[in-house]
Point group: C2
Chain length 194, copies 2
Amino acid sequence: MTTKARDKKNQLIEATIDLFAKEGFWNTSTARISKHAGVATGTLFNYFPSKEALIDAVYLHLKLEMKAFITPGYPADEGTGACIAHVWRRYAEWGVHSPVHYQLLEQLRLSNLVSQQIEDRLMEEIGFMHELIETARQQGLFGEVSLEFAGALIHATVTATINVALAHQLTGPALQKHIAQGLSVLWTGIQPSK
Amino acid sequence: MTTKARDKKNQLIEATIDLFAKEGFWNTSTARISKHAGVATGTLFNYFPSKEALIDAVYLHLKLEMKAFITPGYPADEGTGACIAHVWRRYAEWGVHSPVHYQLLEQLRLSNLVSQQIEDRLMEEIGFMHELIETARQQGLFGEVSLEFAGALIHATVTATINVALAHQLTGPALQKHIAQGLSVLWTGIQPSK
DNA sequence: AAAATAATTGACTGACTAGTCAGTCTTATG
DNA sequence: CATAAGACTGACTAGTCAGTCAATTATTTT
């Protein structure tokens, strides 16, 4: 694929994200997406064989974007706890930084519109997070909580934190304090009772 | 409205819930809903002026159903903490007991398809939960956490608990232990540090 | 029982849907 | 410059959508 073609593909994905976020993906037609991306309706289907494939690509795009935001500064040598805290904090910051993308990602996650193939592909990309949680659990950081439950609680707390931060339009130190508070709730709640 | 008419209205709402849950609300047509409810397409629009109004009614129906499940045994005289714990636990039990309705409610909540009018109407019905949280906060049960953040964290933890319970098909004592664990995470995490 | 009222029906409408394809335009190559 | 390859176009198709309405059936009133 040429550079130009990859550009157009990204252009279509960006246009899709824009419209999906603005109007909901269940009533955004391929015709509108094409128009918003500045191409003909047929061109969309040169790059994506179906609307479903486009949705898959959007989901993949968003998750990789999130990963790219989270990864920098990963404290691999400071222990499992620090790594989880880093990922949690960066996730929260990404959500506040890119609310539209974050909200669309959450919607797609619950929609059952994303194919299993893409879920599998993503497991390779962000599977390190699951390993991280499993390691922490084995080190006894999480008390009796199971792997899945720990993952669900981590996701739930970060989501709640992002949503409240967005609702109150927190920025700067107030935002940092709020994020620290959210992380503290998770950390205190999930730790084994002595 | 006669009893018969109210029956048919409920019949339509139940059929809608059934199909929405089975196939997703964004590709369930009014024609299919009518057929599934055993009436003609026109009849649906005698009871609901539009599909949007039907969705509103479904959302209201689900929330009131949840409220009805949560309310019994409310320990009004055992203090704010006990009341919140009761509501949290019963919510979790409702989600596990009625997974289809619970999941649909969550989807609708995030969909922006429900009108403000219905949200307002529901505030009157389930506003007592917010007052409960505010009271608890004023009593210092929640440390520095704001009202909205407390509400978000309560919702987030109960959702995570339900989802994991459903994924693992927990029942009986294992389910009760899991729910207790989820509540404990919230409670430990949110309590003020000494 | 007759008349009036209300509820129900389903064929129908115009707008919209995902996806196609014959033809046009752009770009790369010899 | 000429030719071939590939990218792009948008009118078009077959089908679905929410919502309508004249006709029919059921119920209530007189």
